[in-house]
Amino acid sequence: MHLEKQKHDFEPKIIAFVCTWCTYAGADLAGTSRMQYPANVRVVKFPCTGRIDPVFILKAFQQGADGVLVSGCHPGDCHYIAGNFHARRRFAAFRKLMEFIGVDLSRIQFSWVSAAEGGKWVEVVTDLTERVRALGPMVEFKELALEEQWSGNLNNPELQAVYEAM
């Protein structure tokens, strides 16, 4: 089944942090099965979700990601036995922190995708991509990166305009 390739104004950047043994293999299966899904996702391969430090998710947003997907083995199937159990707790905590800071949680998706679940990979990626597309670009971090402490602010047209408006 081929999906029509639509032209969109906004192509979200989705970073997917995945584990080697399950989700990456599942994504691979989706590929070899010639399943079509949005090409917006950039996959970063980790040995295990247990290796995924929350700082990577934060850094992804700072570097321009509009949405982040974190995916690994189902609980009980971890190649390293317990990595995903630790990750599950860590991400539960990190989600709460992100929410408290004011990040829209619908931009962050966690999933368990096994090596056999090529179809699920496609579903998860497509749903996240379309959800983030509807939300628009993630401007918060980009705008934050442009802010300077007042003393480092240079004389620029924006500053002039502010004074003119007073």
Binding site: Q63, Q149, S151, G152, L154, N155, L159, M166
Partner: protein, 335 residues
């Protein structure tokens, strides 16, 4: 020559400056804390509280860009920050302890290298001081050769008058020029008495005696007991009007980024950490020793000045209650 200005005219003057598009920086309450920040109206100005940080950031920003780089294919584009981008600024309500630090910073930023980022900002700034009528138990400007009404470092000094208003005394060409430009806001002094100056309960130190002890006691067990409680943060250096150490880092990706200069502190463990892994100041007493040495010996050796204006911020802000006045007093008694 001296002039006088009423409270009302002072507010009008500030609003006029702002309307002209002039950046006016003064003590302002921001998210609950009083800091020297750009005002958006005369009513922002806070005159009865010492700002938590000093005014040095007007010339020596907390964080500033030095250049920007961009890589396109094999070409690298480097864009320098040029001085024409620094805005003209009027610093208002600057306390004597903050203003006196400016000539002290001038010396180091035009020593072996003219730091254009500092000097150009300095050129574009007019400093209007405000004499202090209150002090608290952490203030000790009088102990380091200054006073709550010392005009050192100011272009124009405002002294509060009984009955309101200020006496405006110019101390530089810039100050004279400011008075001339805004002469319709000012009037001739009418003989009103200035409010009594603040009286910090700090008797002058014999700074030479303190330096003499420091000259001879680089290795001394006293440093261990003085600094054992220091936790190695940069709070004292960052709130200090005279501390001026900085770090330069490149931040960005391989494609694009900026070179930034921002405050650094000798209290950090990383300050003297070498690329080899060796750290000559590997323990906190050595790092704290450097703070005292730099302020009361090294700076005097190089520039004939003390790197401290007695504002007392480090005493108030230290998370572990280290009191530099106490340390200096003990050192003076030892000598």
């Amino acid at each position: 020559m001296q002039k006088q200005i009423t409270e009302a005219n002072f507010r009008l003057l500030l609003d006029s400056l702002l309307l002209k598009g002039q950046r006016v920086v003064g003590p302002r309450r921001t998210a609950g804390t009083v800091l020297y920040e750009p005002l958006s109206s005369a009513s922002d100005l806070v005159m009865d509280e010492l700002p938590r940080r000093s005014a040095k950031e007007a010339f020596f920003p907390v964080c500033e860009d030095l250049l920007e780089y961009r890589k396109e294919g094999q070409q690298v584009q480097v864009t320098d920050i040029t001085p024409d981008r620094f805005p003209e600024t009027v610093l208002i309500g600057i306390r004597p302890c903050d203003a006196a630090a400016v000539p002290v910073l001038d010396a180091v930023f035009s020593w072996d290298y003219n730091d254009q980022f500092f000097l150009e900002r300095r050129k574009k700034t007019t400093i209007i001081g405000l004499a202090c009528t209150q002090a608290n138990d952490a203030c000790f400007c009088t102990a380091v050769g200054l006073s709550p009404s010392d005009p050192k470092g100011t272009d124009l000094m405002f002294t509060p008058l009984e009955g309101g208003g200020f006496l405006a005394t110019p101390h530089s060409d810039k100050g004279e020029a400011f008075l001339a430009t805004w002469q319709d806001r000012f009037s001739e002094p009418d003989g009103s008495t200035p409010l009594p100056s603040a009286q910090p309960a700090a008797t002058p130190f014999d700074l030479k005696k303190i330096k003499a002890w420091l000259d001879e006691h680089f290795e001394d067990a006293a440093w261990d007991s003085i600094a054992v409680r220091c936790v190695g943060c940069g709070a004292c250096a960052f709130v200090c009007p005279a501390c001026h150490c900085f770090d330069i880092v490149d931040e960005g990706t391989e494609k694009t980024g900026k070179r930034r200069k921002f405050w650094d502190a000798c209290g950090f463990w990383k300050f003297t950490h070498h690329a080899s892994g060796h750290n000559p100041r590997d323990l906190q007493p050595k790092r704290y020793r450097n703070r005292i040495m730099h302020k009361f010996k090294y700076y005097d050796d190089k520039f004939g000045q003390t790197l401290c204006t007695g504002c007392g911020r480090c005493i108030r802000i230290c998370p572990v209650g280290i009191d530099i006045f106490d340390i200096l007093q003990d050192t003076e008694n030892k000598g």
